[in-house]
C-alpha cells in the first residue's frame, strides 16, 4: 500500500496533522504512565520507611 517508508511518513501530504495527533496521544499516555509509576514508587518507599521505623511513623501523620 505504501511506497516505502518515506511515503508512509508523508501520509499523503497530511504528515503534520496525522503525526501531530498520534504523537500527542503517545506523549500524553507515556507521561501519564510515568507519573503514575513514580507516584506508586514514592508511596511504596514511604510506607517501607514507615514500617522500618514504626514509632516515627505514628507521629508523622498522613
Amino acid at each position: 500500500m505504501w511506497d516505502g517508508i518515506g511515503d508512509f511518513l508523508a501520509m499523503g501530504g497530511y504528515a503534520l496533522y496525522v503525526w501531530g495527533a498520534f504523537g500527542m496521544v503517545a506523549l500524553g499516555l507515556l507521561l501519564e504512565g510515568i507519573l503514575v509509576a513514580r507516584r506508586r514508587r514514592q508511596v511504596r518507599a514511604r510506607l517501607q520507611r514507615q514500617s522500618r521505623r514504626p514509632a516515627a511513623a505514628r507521629n508523622q501523620g498522613e
Binding site: 496525522v18 500527542m24 506508586r40 510506607l47 517501607q48 514507615q50 511513623a57
Partner: protein, 274 residues
C-alpha cells in the same frame, strides 16, 4: 455480612482491591499493547485512504476512542461519586479520584486530535462546533472535580463535596450537550461535520474497534494503578498496606484488613436507612 455472601462487596475493602488490581494489571498492559499494535497495523496498513480526506482521516482511529473514553469516564466518575455519597464506601472515592486525571487527559487528547483533524478537512483548527464546545465543557468539569478534591484539607469531606459536584455535572452533561447542539444549529444552519460521513470500510471499522478496545484496557490499567497508589497512601498506617508496599501481602493480612472494613460500617439499623 461476610465477603462470601456478596462477592462484589469484597472489593470495597482496599486490601482486597489492591490484590485484585495487582493480579489484573499485569495482564491488562500486554492486552492493551496487543490491541493497539493490531489496531495501528489495521489502521495504517490495511485500511485504504479515504476518497475525500486522503490519509488525514486516520486521525479518527485515535480521536473517536479518546472522545468516547472522556465521556464514559465522566459517567463512571459520577457513578462512583454517587456510590460514595450513598454508601460511604471509601474505595468508591479512591476510584473516582483515580479516574479523574485519565478522564481529563482523554478529553484533552480528543480535543487535540479533533483540532488536528479539523485543520485539513475543514480548513481550521477550531470551530465552535456543538461537539467540540461540549467536549471543552466536559474538560472543565473534570478540572473542576480535581480542583475541588485537591482544595479540601479533609480528604473525606473533599471527596464528598467533589462527588456531589460530579453528580450535578453528570445531570448537566446532557442538558449542556443539547443546548449547545441547538445553539449551534441555530447559528450555523448547516453543520460542517456530519456524523453520517462516508460509509466505513470493514477494515476501517475493525481498526477503530481495536483501537477503542486498546484505550478501554489502557484506561482500566492506569486507573487501577493510580487507585492502588491512592489506597496505599490513605491506609499508610495499616498492617496490610505496609506489607503490600514491601510486596508480601498475605491472605491472612488481607482478610484481617477486610474484617476491619466491615466493622467500619455503621450498624445495620442505621446503615439501612441511608
Amino acid at each position: 455480612m461476610t465477603g462470601r455472601s456478596i462477592p462484589w462487596l469484597k472489593f470495597t475493602a482496599p486490601a482486597n482491591f489492591y490484590t485484585l488490581a495487582q493480579r489484573l494489571v499485569p495482564w491488562l498492559w500486554p492486552a492493551a499493547a496487543l490491541c493497539a499494535v493490531a489496531g495501528l497495523y489495521m489502521g495504517f496498513f490495511v485500511a485504504p485512504p479515504d476518497h475525500q480526506q486522503g490519509d488525514a482521516y486516520r486521525i479518527l482511529f485515535i480521536h473517536v476512542p479518546t472522545a468516547w473514553m472522556g465521556m464514559l469516564l465522566y459517567l463512571l466518575l459520577a457513578a462512583y461519586g454517587a456510590i460514595f455519597l450513598v454508601w460511604r464506601i471509601k474505595m468508591a472515592d479512591i476510584m473516582a479520584r483515580a479516574i479523574a486525571p485519565t478522564g481529563a487527559l482523554m478529553t484533552f487528547l480528543s480535543l487535540w486530535t479533533g483540532a488536528l483533524w479539523g485543520a485539513p478537512t475543514w480548513g481550521t483548527f477550531w470551530v465552535w462546533d456543538a461537539r467540540l464546545t461540549s467536549t471543552l465543557i466536559l474538560l472543565f468539569l473534570f478540572l473542576g472535580y480535581m480542583a475541588l478534591h485537591a482544595a479540601s484539607d479533609d480528604r473525606e469531606k473533599g471527596g464528598r463535596a467533589a462527588s456531589l459536584l460530579a453528580i450535578i455535572g453528570a445531570v448537566n452533561v446532557p442538558i449542556i450537550y443539547f443546548s449547545v447542539e441547538w445553539w449551534y444549529n441555530l447559528h450555523q444552519g448547516v453543520s460542517v461535520m456530519r456524523s453520517d460521513g462516508p460509509s466505513m470500510a470493514d477494515s476501517m471499522l475493525a481498526a477503530l474497534l481495536l483501537m477503542i478496545a486498546a484505550f478501554w484496557i489502557y484506561a482500566g490499567a492506569i486507573v487501577l494503578r493510580r487507585a492502588q497508589a491512592e489506597a496505599l497512601s490513605r491506609e499508610a498506617r495499616t498492617e496490610w498496606a505496609q506489607a503490600a508496599a514491601a510486596g508480601r501481602l498475605t491472605r491472612e493480612q488481607r482478610e484481617r484488613a477486610a474484617v476491619g472494613i466491615e466493622g467500619n460500617r455503621p450498624p445495620l439499623e442505621s446503615g439501612g436507612q441511608t
